[in-house]
């Protein structure tokens, strides 16, 4: 593969899901099997392209694609660097697993093709946010993904779904407006929309006041999107109300690619991190971590409990990334990867339970492991991973974050991180005890096992949970995680690297 071929991979991340989505919207109504097939092949194609992209940045370094052959400060650039590739792999891995799961799960909803159209539109939006090098383009893709997710939360069109979707849509739109306002201020100061160009302008002049103003706007906007604690109110309603595959996508990757990725890209690569922003991020991270887990532990609705845990785990990621040391960033990114795997697995498991029993209340379940052995096992694995039990992937990432925090002599944050981890373990012991172990209740005796495609998807995610730890073995780490860590920890180099890569 030459460099030109490697460059031509870059637009595919947007093109493949968009083509799939529009083809499904035309043809899906007539051919019943087509949405499943196209959805599966589109997400699989994006996943393969993401794996090819890992190889491409290892051979050629940062790649910049000029859309329509217009060079970067004028035209729209697509930038493929370590962080983008990392996020692309995460997004498309989860998307393809979720797509396999939906083949069986979405049977009991009407009009599957509408689901797949919106789903692929959301994937295209997320891929676009991650791949683009232009800040307004980032906003457009962010809105594509957000609008698709509002519609998907309301997909069931029952009372709860609609109420949650309305709340989510109103809050999300206001957050997007804050982001747009920040972009307007940045444009009025720098007269450019290209992120690399913007970074070099901001680094040169007297820009402290404008950066302060825009930082606050972006912290509010992207904080909403990533559900950090003062802005988290929409998440525990919206995530449980969506169909289970969409809950997995929302909790697994949407809040990360729209929220955390954009936050990190802007604060580290465009503004350049300062001590104040770093301490604000760490404080918000620790706050989310603790408050999320305290709110989660009292929940009896399974999906609601998982949604509160998303807030808590996002706190870990932000704590690690906000710390700013290479080890902390490594831990944060690795935890981001692990969290998307095990949290989507947990949501898929809850979907499998709902598919069989029709309930989400923990008190009504019991002994389900006798009837659903596969779901029970995968749920056990994912629970252990999220609680940080040694052989599973969650343990390594939490350990790295806590070591990094201790090395930076922030003992208070380390204490809260350990405490949150213990409480997480406690609340997942509760889930396992009430849902899977114990006596099988009478009314569940007739349920059969889960359909095949759902099993395949859950088992493959569970395998990644078990072997996820290999990513920190030196050779694998250099290829994948270290590339992303480099981009963040040498954040101020972003402008020069990208501007040099434009040929």
């Amino acid at each position: 593969m030459t460099q030109t071929t490697a460059l031509n991979i870059i637009p595919l991340f947007v093109v493949i899901p968009l083509t799939g989505s529009f083809l499904i919207s035309i043809l899906g109504r007539r051919f019943k099997a087509l949405p499943d097939l196209l959805g599966f092949f589109a997400t699989l194609g994006s996943l393969l392209a993401a794996i090819a992209a890992v190889w491409a940045i290892n051979s050629y370094g940062t790649l910049v694609y000029s859309v329509g052959a217009w060079k970067a400060p004028i035209g729209i650039a697509m930038v493929l660097d370590g962080l983008s590739v990392f996020m692309l792999v995460v997004v498309n891995l989860i998307a393809s697993a979720v797509c396999v799961f939906s083949i069986n799960y979405m049977e009991h909803y009407t009009s599957k093709w509408k689901f797949y159209t919106l789903f692929l539109l959301m994937v295209a939006g997320m891929n676009g946010v991650v791949i683009t090098g232009d800040i307004f383009n980032l906003f457009v893709f962010l809105e594509i993904a957000s609008v698709a997710s509002y519609a998907l939360v309301a997909f069931g069109t029952e009372k709860h779904e609609l109420e949650a979707a309305f709340k989510y849509a109103v809050m999300g739109t206001v957050a997007s407006l804050f982001i747009l306002l920040g972009i307007v201020f940045l444009y009025s100061f720098t007269s450019t929309l290209n992120m690399a160009d913007m970074a070099s302008v901001l680094a040169g002049g007297k820009s402290a006041n404008i950066i302060l103003m825009v930082s606050v706007l972006f912290l509010m906007g992207f904080g909403f999107k990533s559900a950090l604690v003062p802005f988290h109110a929409w998440l525990p309603d919206a995530h449980p109300s969506a169909p289970a595959p969409i809950s997995a996508m929302l909790s697994g990757v949407l809040i990360k690619s729209l929220g955390i990725y954009a936050l990190i890209r802007i604060f580290y690569n465009i503004f350049g991190i300062t001590a104040e922003i770093s301490s604000i991020l760490m404080f918000l991270g620790a706050l989310s971590m603790v408050i999320g887990v305290f709110l989660a532990i009292g929940q009896w609705d399974l999906k609601r409990l998982l949604a509160y845990h998303s807030i808590s785990q996002i706190g870990y990621v932000i704590l690690g990334l906000g710390l700013g040391t290479p080890l902390g960033i490594l831990g944060g990114l690795f935890h981001l990867f692990n969290h998307s795997v095990f949290k989507s697995l947990l949501f898929l498991n809850s979907g499998a339970i709902e598919y069989e029993t029709g309930t989400r209340q923990l008190k009504e379940m019991g002994g389900l492991i006798h009837k659903m052995p596969v779901t029970g096992t995968t749920n056990l694995i994912a629970s252990m991973a999220i609680a940080g039990i040694p052989p599973f992937n969650g343990f390594f990432s939490k350990l790295i974050i806590i070591i990094a925090v201790v090395q930076a002599q922030r003992y208070g944050y380390a204490f809260w991180a350990v405490l949150a981890s213990v409480l997480t373990l406690a609340s997942f012991l509760k889930v396992m005890k009430y849902a899977f172990f114990g006596e099988l209740k009478k009314k569940w005796e007739k349920i059969q096992g889960v359909p095949a495609f759902m099993k395949i998807s859950m088992i493959s995610l569970a395998i990644i949970c078990v072997i996820g730890g290999v990513l920190i073995i030196p050779t694998a780490r250099e290829m994948f995680l270290d590339r992303a860590v480099d981009v963040i920890s040498n954040g101020s180099n972003y402008a020069s690297v990208v501007l040099k890569a434009i040929m």
Partner: protein, 112 residues
């Protein structure tokens, strides 16, 4: 400067409407006001005194135009606003169908 302040007050009116009103339709109107305030601000940022509209025509030379890029960008943001508004209205109508009211204090089955 006073134009920018008017823009800001328009944005704040919209925000007040979103935060304070109890009727779903009024909340949607508030969002639309907010959105237009931001769009207006973006166009105003690009304005320069005495500039003409950025349209290339055979009779006139290309000089003293206002910045054309925000106008193109604002058009995109208006389209996004159209999509969001349509979706919100759709959801609002469905809510009315299910709950029989537009009052958000009566639509409280979830407590996030």
């Amino acid at each position: 400067m006073s134009l920018y302040l008017l823009c800001l007050s328009l944005f704040l009116i919209g925000l007040y409407c979103v935060l304070r009103k109890r009727n779903i339709i009024k909340i949607i109107v508030g969002i639309i006001i907010c959105e237009y305030a931001v769009n207006l601000f973006f166009v105003l940022v690009a304005y320069k005194i005495g500039g003409r509209s950025p349209i290339h025509s055979p009779e006139q030379a290309i000089e003293n135009m206002v910045d054309a890029l925000p106008q193109a960008v604002v058009l995109t943001s208006i389209v996004i606003g159209l999509a969001t508004t349509a979706l919100l209205i759709g959801i609002a109508m469905r809510i009315y169908q299910k709950y029989g009211t537009f009052d958000i204090t009566k639509i409280r089955e979830l407590n996030g």
